[in-house]
Symmetry: C2
Subunit: 346 residues, 2 copies
DNA sequence: TACCTGGTTTACAACGATGTAACGAACTGG
DNA sequence: CCAGTTCGTTACATCGTTGTAAACCAGGTA
């Protein structure tokens, strides 16, 4: 009933503990006969190695942590899926932390409390400042996902996308399709919120470039990036005078905005075009389907895992910066009939 | 640079290893002066206990595994969120396994390969059979989520909902609202797929009860329960002669079906009503908003964690069966104007 | 002074696995 | 026939932590 140890197997097979260990670890110099006897004993007791003991001995656990704000958010859920798959390919197990984008919780994550349980950390922070990061003791390798934090050169590997360029391209698309009053939903008042700032920057660049007037009243702030926030922000925008296009800083905001528009009787894309960011599954099945910026999530996850693997195998060079590619997915929500051909990509 | 151990702290503080351990573990009989010295040393070296060593010693790791088919599916993502929160309240960390609903992977999960890393397992299987379960050696406590597996009395605690009753209520609602050709999307041909069978049963019961003819051609099978499957199944149904209502066995199927309906020009709920199951966030922001069966996910997660905790603290009684409550959320997708008052709950 | 009491601290042995070094036995070659 | 090699196996120490039991040191009591 109690879990068998190497010792139990050894006694049953009539060999030493180490020989059993050797069989378990495929050590080559074990005679066929001994190996067979040991394997039989292992099967009989259904022995499983104790991973805690192994980690202790090896100094490795085979577990990496993924810290994200919230799995409720489909973007992070999809990212987590990809991370788990990539980790699986390396034989790693993924342990998930939810920070709720809360600075205190994010600090706990980097504090190293779990450092001895995990071999590495994949971290997608929202509220952390450069100072928080600087205070970290760097014993457990960490790869940052999403936005770069702080200004100076960070000692941490980082995987992200070019938010400014992506937002710029998305906004330009709206302008090309005839948007003259292009709103933006997603700026946040908090000090951290780097991603929002970058996307705002891209949005502003695009307006300037396209010669579309930048109206500050068309920039709608939100508390968080959920559907409800998008819906509410859209409501405010409409009350203040309807825009003819909206660039939302992520897809859940966009789906919320879309909901408000349709509920209040606006035709999308006829009267108002909507563009999102992230390419979550929901957007492909919304009506109208949601145009969006599609970052390569699989590549982001794979790169992050690869970077971590490199650090784990002793890589000590300076921090790597990976900028994952993105593409624009033009779907129905920006597909104005008669305005040029539809460049729907999928 | 290397991680400090108790020994290093002890040397710096000029005390024994055990005293440091006592300080770390809040053992009461340590003099204030010693405690202060030790704490200073801990801070100076920024010592963190090695959790692998602790687990080895304690026989506990503080880690539980949650095995679900796929975090991409919002239902499981939301469930995972709740589980992580509930586990957090007990000081546990959650490690996530994705099985893809694949029987081979599900068998690996129960095989106990990780038994020594985790204290317990929360498992939401899709493809597993009673036989697979019976072969498990029961050393690590496991709580099953979702459908009951096999026919006989299972030795495992289980948390689920009354699928038959829920599906029946959902279908009755469609009938009350005037549905006469009520379709169902979600039966699967695979042997496992117990959940689908139960929901089908509830659907059929409701039809009989409401005196609505049961037309087998209105029951649309699908391969999986994703949005694309729902969209495709709806397409087939429409081709064969449009129903006036559809009960989808989960919300992603429903969102897919909704997409097809709107794309092909059907008014929802005017011409076809749509009902889902799960109450995922997306449904609340779809247009029209999606009526659905809302299981109490927080309670499911909490119960599962509680049951596991009980087993971990030595509880050995017979298996518990928890049937979590559900309610119906009536939203726009079944809200036929003029057909009685609208019982929208949220 | 000798003894007890109770708080404080310590040495030691586990927890289960694996790397190291060393052992005996069976070969090889000179 | 013996030194040298290879193969299979083993004893031992170790990873970092904590429970146990015992040692130590006051202060109080007899």
């Amino acid at each position: 009933m109690v879990r068998p140890r190497l010792k139990d197997v050894a006694e049953l097979a009539g060999v030493s503990i180490k020989t059993v260990s050797n069989v378990v670890n495929d050590y080559p110099h074990v005679s066929d006969e001994t190996r067979a006897r040991v394997e039989a004993a292992i099967a009989e007791l259904s022995y499983r190695p104790n991973l805690s003991a192994r980690s202790l001995r090896a100094g490795r656990s085979g577990v990496v942590a993924l810290a994200v704000p919230d799995l409720d958010n489909p973007y992070f859920a999809e990212l987590a899926t990809n991370v788990i798959e990539a980790a699986d390919r390396r034989g790693w197990t993924v342990l998930i932390d939810q920070t709720q984008g809360d600075r205190a919780k994010e600090r706990v994550v980097i504090s190293g409390i779990r450092d001895h349980l995990i071999d590495g950390l994949l971290f997608s922070p929202l509220a952390l400042t450069g100072k928080d990061l600087a205070g970290r003791d760097e014993r457990t390798p960490m790869v940052l996902l999403g936005e770069r934090i702080g200004t100076g050169r960070s000692p941490y590997d980082h995987v992200g996308i070019d938010n400014v360029a992506a937002a710029r391209a998305a906004t330009l698309h709206l302008a090309e399709r005839g948007g003259r009053r292009i709103a933006a939903i997603g700026v946040q008042r908090t000090a951290a919120a780097a991603t929002g700032r970058l996307r705002l920057k891209g949005y502003q660049q695009a307006l300037a470039e396209a010669g579309v007037p930048a109206d500050p009243s068309l920039v709608a702030p939100v508390a968080r990036w959920g559907r409800a926030d998008g819906a509410e922000a859209m409501s405010r925008l409409l009350d203040a005078g309807a825009p003819d296009a909206v660039f939302c800083f992520n897809d859940t905001l966009a789906l919320g905005a879309l909901r408000t528009l349709l509920k209040r009787g606006y035709a999308v894309p006829g009267e108002v075009m909507v563009m999102g960011f992230d390419d979550i599954q929901d957007g492909r099945f919304a009506t109208p389907t949601l145009s969006t910026v599609a970052p390569d999530k699989a590549l982001i996850a794979q790169s992050a895992v690869d970077l971590l693997a490199e650090r784990l195998s002793g890589g000590t060079g300076r921090a790597h910066e990976v900028c994952a590619p993105h593409r624009l997915a033009f779907r129905e929500s920006t597909d104005v009939p008669g305005e040029g051909h539809s460049r729907t990509l999928n």
